[in-house]
Symmetry: C2
Subunit: 324 residues, 2 copies
C-alpha cells in the first residue's frame, strides 16, 4: 500500500470487488440500485443470512482469509442444510478507516478462491466505515422444487448421520482464549480448525433421501435437539460412533477436554441429517464417491429427548437462537 | 421493561420479530437454516442491500422509529428505482447489550407499520450483539419480466422527472449538526424530514414508460450524472422547475442555505427517471391518481455533461459509490 493513498469505496469496488462478480449480468456491473436473480426451471431459490462480528465471531487480528472463510462457510453450511447448492451472494462489509490494501487483497483473494471452489459469485452489497469489522451476507442457492430440507421431517427409526468430525473448532477457540495449553504442533492444528472450518457441500446430494437436516453451528446436542423438539420425538446416540479426530480423542484421554463439552460447543459447520435406514448404503457410497466422511451416529426414537448410550441427557437451556 | 430481565435472542425473536413474518410459509417460522422465495409467474425477482450504521446514517439517540424507517426507505427506494414492488426482506440486526424493550417495541412497531403500508414481510435474518447499532437488510421485489429499470436506458430528448421535493432531509441534517439555526417550527419540520424521509413507491407503475431510473441517495446532481455518464449523453435542467418546498425556498431566499448545496446533498430517496416526452400526460395523470408530486425538471441532451439553465456545472468528484 502506498502511504497516504486514500482507500475509497470506489477504489475497493474497482480493485477488489468487481472481480468477484465474474461478469455476471445479474448485477449490472454493480452500477444499478439492485440485482436480479435468474432461477433455473424446476428449481426453487433459497436465501440465508449470516453476520459475523469482530470480537464475537473472530478476533481483530485473525487472518483476513479466516474472516472471508467464516462468512462464506457459515452461509454455505446453511444453504447445504436446506438441500441446496450455492448460486450467488451479497456482502455488506463494514471496515475500520485504517483498513489497508494488504488486508483487502487477502480477504478478497480467499473469497475468490471459495467462489471458484463452490461455484458462486458476488451479486452486490454495501460498503461502510465502522469502528469494528462486521461482515453480513445473504446467500442464494437452488434446490429442485419440493426438495427443500427442513428441520422438522425426521421420522421414528430414521438413522442419524453427521459429516466430518466434531469439536475441533471449539478446541481451537479454547486454545486461542488460553483456556487450555497443549504442545505446539497440536496447537497449530486446532487453531487452523478454528480459523478455517471446513465445509462439505453435500446437502444438494442428499435432498432426495434425507428427511431432515441442520448444520451444526450451535453444537451437536443443541442442533440435534432442533431436529426432534418440534415433532416431540427423540434421538438415541452411540457415543462411540461420534466422529472425532485422533488428536481430539487424545485430548479427551488426557482429560484436557471433555467429551460432552465438544458435543455442546459450536462452530463445526458439519451437516447433521436423518434418513430412512434403507438409504444407508446410498449414503455410504455417496461419502466414498465424494471423499467425505459421513458417519451414522444414532437413531430417531419415539421416546422424547436426547439419549447418549441409553442415558437421557439434559441440555442446559441456551439463550441462543438464530432467526435462521 | 422489568429490571434485570435478560433480553435474549430468543426473546427478541419470539416477542418482536416473529410477528413481522405474517405467518408466511417461506420462512419456516424462523426455525430453518434459511427461507425460500416464491416467485409469481411472469415476474423477475430483484434483490437490494443496504446497511445503516450508528454515527454514520443516524445518531445514537435518534428515535428507534426513525432507524426502522431509514433501513426500510433506503431499500424500498432501491426496489422502486428498479421498477419493482416489494415482496420480503431479511434483517441483520446488531444491537448494544443494553438495548431495552422500549427501543425494541418502537423499532419493530414502525417496521410493522411500514410492512402493512407497502405490503411486504420479514423472511429471516440474524441477531448479534455489537458496540453500536448496525442494521443491514436485503430486500426482495418483483418486476414483470423484461421490465427492470436500469440506470443506463436514457435516450436523447427524453424528459427528466423527479418525485417529491428535494433537499429537505439534508437541511434537517444541517440543523441536527448545528450548522444552521432557524426558528423552532421550521427546525421541527426539517428534522422530521431528516428522521423520516418519505418514499413514494411508484417505480412499479412507470416500468413500462421510463427509460432509466435511480433513487436520489447521493444527491440530485450526482445521481443524475449516474443516468448520463455511462451513455455519454447530457442533461439540461431548468433550476426554476426543481421541486422545492415553500420552507426550503424561504431558506434559500434568506441565504441560510444554498440552492446548489441542496442539489448536491443526498438522502432524498426520491425517484429520478427519464421517459419519452410522449408519456408526459400519462405521468401527470399517474401523479394525480396516486396523489404524488412528480415534476418534469429537464431534458436529456446530446451534449455531454450536466447543464443548469444552459450553464455547464461541474460536479466535484465524489469518493462515494455503492456496490448497488
Amino acid at each position: 500500500m502506498k502511504k497516504n493513498k486514500k482507500i475509497t469505496e470506489k477504489y475497493i469496488i474497482d480493485k477488489y470487488l468487481r472481480n468477484l462478480n465474474n461478469n455476471q449480468n445479474e448485477s449490472f456491473d454493480f452500477k444499478n440500485d439492485g440485482a436480479y436473480l435468474k432461477i433455473p426451471k424446476k428449481k426453487q431459490i433459497i436465501v440465508t443470512n449470516d453476520t459475523i462480528l469482530e470480537s464475537v465471531d473472530f478476533f481483530k487480528n485473525d487472518p483476513p482469509e479466516s474472516i472471508a472463510n467464516k462468512i462464506i462457510t457459515y452461509n454455505l453450511s446453511d444453504i447445504s442444510s436446506m438441500g441446496a447448492y450455492p448460486y450467488a451472494y451479497t456482502l455488506s462489509i463494514c471496515l475500520p478507516k485504517n483498513t489497508n490494501d494488504i488486508w483487502l487483497k487477502k480477504f478478497t483473494k480467499k473469497l475468490f478462491f471459495l467462489q471458484k471452489k463452490y461455484n458462486f459469485f458476488l451479486i452486490g452489497g454495501d460498503l461502510s466505515i465502522s469502528h469494528k469489522i462486521i461482515i453480513s451476507s445473504n446467500f442464494f442457492g437452488f434446490v429442485p422444487k419440493g426438495k427443500i430440507l427442513t428441520r422438522t421431517g425426521a421420522r421414528i427409526n430414521d438413522d442419524i448421520w453427521v459429516t466430518g468430525t466434531i469439536g475441533e473448532s471449539s478446541i481451537g477457540l479454547k486454545i486461542k482464549q488460553k483456556e487450555i495449553k497443549i504442545n505446539n504442533v497440536d496447537k497449530k492444528y486446532f487453531l487452523q480448525k478454528y480459523l478455517f472450518p471446513k465445509h462439505f457441500s453435500i446437502g444438494n446430494k442428499i435432498n432426495n433421501i434425507a428427511t431432515s437436516a441442520i448444520d451444526i453451528s450451535d453444537g451437536f446436542y443443541g442442533d440435534l435437539e432442533n431436529l426432534i423438539n418440534e415433532k416431540k420425538i427423540g434421538a438415541s446416540i452411540n457415543s462411540s460412533l461420534i466422529p472425532l479426530s485422533l488428536k481430539t480423542k487424545q485430548l479427551i484421554r488426557n482429560k484436557i477436554i471433555n467429551f460432552n463439552y465438544l458435543l455442546s460447543a459450536g462452530d463445526d459447520y458439519e451437516l447433521l441429517f436423518t434418513s430412512n435406514s434403507k438409504n444407508s448404503s446410498i449414503i455410504t457410497r455417496l461419502a466414498k464417491n465424494n471423499n467425505i466422511k459421513i458417519t451414522k451416529v444414532g437413531t430417531i426414537i419415539e421416546e422424547k429427548g436426547l439419549y447418549l448410550d441409553g442415558k437421557k441427557i439434559k441440555i442446559i437451556n441456551k439463550s441462543f437462537q438464530h432467526i435462521f
